[in-house]
């Protein structure tokens, strides 16, 4: 139980510190052009053992630069991700997933990234092999096996943004742990524990968003 509490505390400290930084701050605000971030990741169910892939575009909503008392700066991006994913669980099913959500990512001056993201989406499963449909009269036909489901997911991300330290490396890498709840699964819900490892870069599509600068007094 203590270990659970410790883990929970570490996660709160890791992903929740940005909320505390807004206290006692001075603010400026301007509209700035931002490129569209996009990512591609290996995404696998059962902690990454059932292979898949995930493409994601991140519609930036707001970027905040927080300067702490020790002059270190943290960039906090609020974004709306749109993702298309697929995974293959041999002997069970494959699934196509489309989702959207909201994410918050902190990038430190040295490039270290932490982030959280919540998504809601639609999943279509494809059962492997032929699916037979048999009428009560005994007529046999085949149909496309699998169903549509809804899902919610929560992602915890850590990574490295190389652009902070080297402009010749215009991308960042990340790993994600993504618990996902698929519903309605028969008469319950089905849990997935997805793991992702991927790269993110900025595409040459630009959008003006609010950029805030906040610093501690």
């Amino acid at each position: 139980m203590n270990r659970v509490k410790q883990t929970f505390t570490v996660l709160i400290l890791l992903f929740g510190t940005s909320a505390l930084m807004a206290q006692n701050s001075t603010n400026t605000n301007e509209k700035v052009l931002y490129n569209l971030p996009a990512s591609v990741a290996y995404m696998g169910d059962y902690l990454g053992t059932k292979p898949g892939i995930n493409f994601s575009f991140e519609n930036s909503l707001r970027n905040t630069f927080l300067t702490k008392r020790n002059s270190k700066m943290v960039e906090r991006m609020l974004y709306n991700p749109i993702s298309l994913g697929w995974f293959h669980h041999k002997g069970y099913n494959s699934a196509l997933m489309l989702s959207s959500g909201i994410g918050l990512r902190n990038t430190r001056q040295n490039g270290f990234i932490t982030g959280t993201q919540v998504d809601a989406g639609l999943m279509r499963t494809f059962i492997h092999g032929t699916t037979y449909l048999i009428t009560d009269d005994g007529d046999v036909s085949t149909v496309a096996g699998g169903y549509f489901y809804g899902y919610f997911s929560l992602s915890l991300e850590a990574g490295w943004d190389f652009t902070k330290t080297n402009k010749n490396l215009p991308f960042s890498t990340f790993v994600r742990l993504k618990p996902l709840v698929q519903f309605p699964y028969n008469s319950g819900t089905l849990i997935h524990i997805m793991a992702e490892i991927g790269i993110r870069t900025a595409l040459p599509f630009q959008k003006k968003i609010n950029e805030y600068h906040k610093s501690k007094k």
Binding site: H128, Y132, I134, G145, N186, L190
Partner: protein, 345 residues
């Protein structure tokens, strides 16, 4: 742009349609997956093993909701001889749907009828079929075989610790648990589970709720594992979680099926197929764990064997097993099944 999107969708559709395969594999080591849609549920059926033998054993798992994974983990020797069709019943194992609806035994039997039809459609070229039912799957199998001409689809029935008298399972469990606990305590066995078992039996002269029944069944299983003569076994290992089987699907289905009180009450409080047994006339093999507390040898196994109508019938006790003889004595179990099939196919 629109053409590109349509092209991409066609490509994706093509990829997924390529996942479907109507071809069946006839080999000593077949691995054929298909599913049967019934009542809003796609039930997975995996045919593994030696399809060259032209013999397929359709396994009907127990639970309800147990899935076929426990059986699958222990059948390497059996599948080297014959093929086994591992069927995950609706709302069980890896079977899926987004609207499972109401559950009744009639629906379960209707599902079984469709699975048999699909199996015989897929393997229509000179195959012989056997039905093997375990635990409550044994009870469902009895009901299915006794209906109409169903038993003509099979060359024999293998009843593994099956419960044809489903409504008496809980009463028999209380009797067996108390009997075994007294034997162990009198032997000087100080394991606290036996006192726990005696206390449970003393406090529950009758099982009235699903929760009490679940508690009793789990206690019977735990107690069985403490009997010296029963071989030890491990069900959960890394392959359980990371293998082909969707373990989370099993967990989800198990918990949601056991929340269906009306279905469970129908099975374990109202159903008795004793009167159907004389109608089963195909060859019958009953295999029972000698220390089965969940499904009594004496009260269920011997009663089945005595009442089944088959002229060609045999009863085999697995001396080092409880409720799962195919797990605890896989060699002995396989030999008995192979011998039965050789004599009847």
């Amino acid at each position: 742009m629109r053409t590109k999107i349509i092209g991409l969708l066609i490509l994706i559709a093509g990829f997924f349609s390529s996942c479907s395969n109507n071809e069946i594999e006839i080999s000593p080591n077949a691995h054929d997956l298909f599913s049967v849609r019934s009542n809003g549920n796609d039930m997975l059926v995996k045919v593994v093993g030696n399809t060259e033998s032209k013999v397929i054993i359709l396994f009907v798992h127990g639970g309800p909701g147990e899935g076929s994974w426990i059986f699958e983990k222990n059948i390497d020797q059996l599948t080297s001889q014959y093929a086994v069709a591992l069927w995950d019943q609706a709302n069980s194992g890896s079977s899926q749907g987004n609207n499972s609806g109401d559950f009744t035994i009639e629906r379960s039997l209707n599902d079984m009828e469709k699975v048999v039809k699909a199996l015989k459609t897929r393997y229509d070229d000179g195959f012989g079929f056997y039905l093997m039912g375990h635990s409550c799957g044994g009870g469902f199998s009895v009901a299915y075989l006794a209906e109409g001409e169903n038993q003509n689809d099979f060359k024999g029935f293998i009843n593994v610790d099956g419960a044809h008298k489903l409504k008496s399972v809980k009463d028999f469990q209380l009797i067996e648990l108390e009997k075994r606990a007294n034997i162990e305590v009198n032997k000087g066995n100080t394991d606290p589970i036996w006192q726990e078992a005696l206390d449970f039996c003393e406090n529950h002269s009758e099982i009235k709720t699903i929760d009490e029944f679940s508690e009793l069944s789990l206690l019977c299983g735990d107690a069985t594992a403490k009997i010296d003569s029963v071989n030890l076994f491990t069900l959960i290992d890394p392959s359980t979680f990371f293998g082909e089987y969707s373990f989370f699907s099993y967990l989800s289905n198990w918990s949601s099926l056991w929340a269906k009180e009306d279905y469970l009450k129908q099975i374990f409080w109202e159903t008795d197929y004793s009167d159907k047994l004389p109608e089963i006339t195909i060859p019958s093999l009953a295999i029972w764990g000698a220390f089965d507390i969940n499904c009594s040898v004496e009260l269920m196994g011997e009663a089945y064997h005595n009442q089944v109508g088959s002229a060609d019938k045999s009863f085999v006790l697995c001396e080092h097993s409880g409720h799962y003889p195919f797990v605890t004595e896989p060699d002995f179990f396989t030999n008995e099944v192979v011998s039965f099939i050789k004599n009847t196919k």
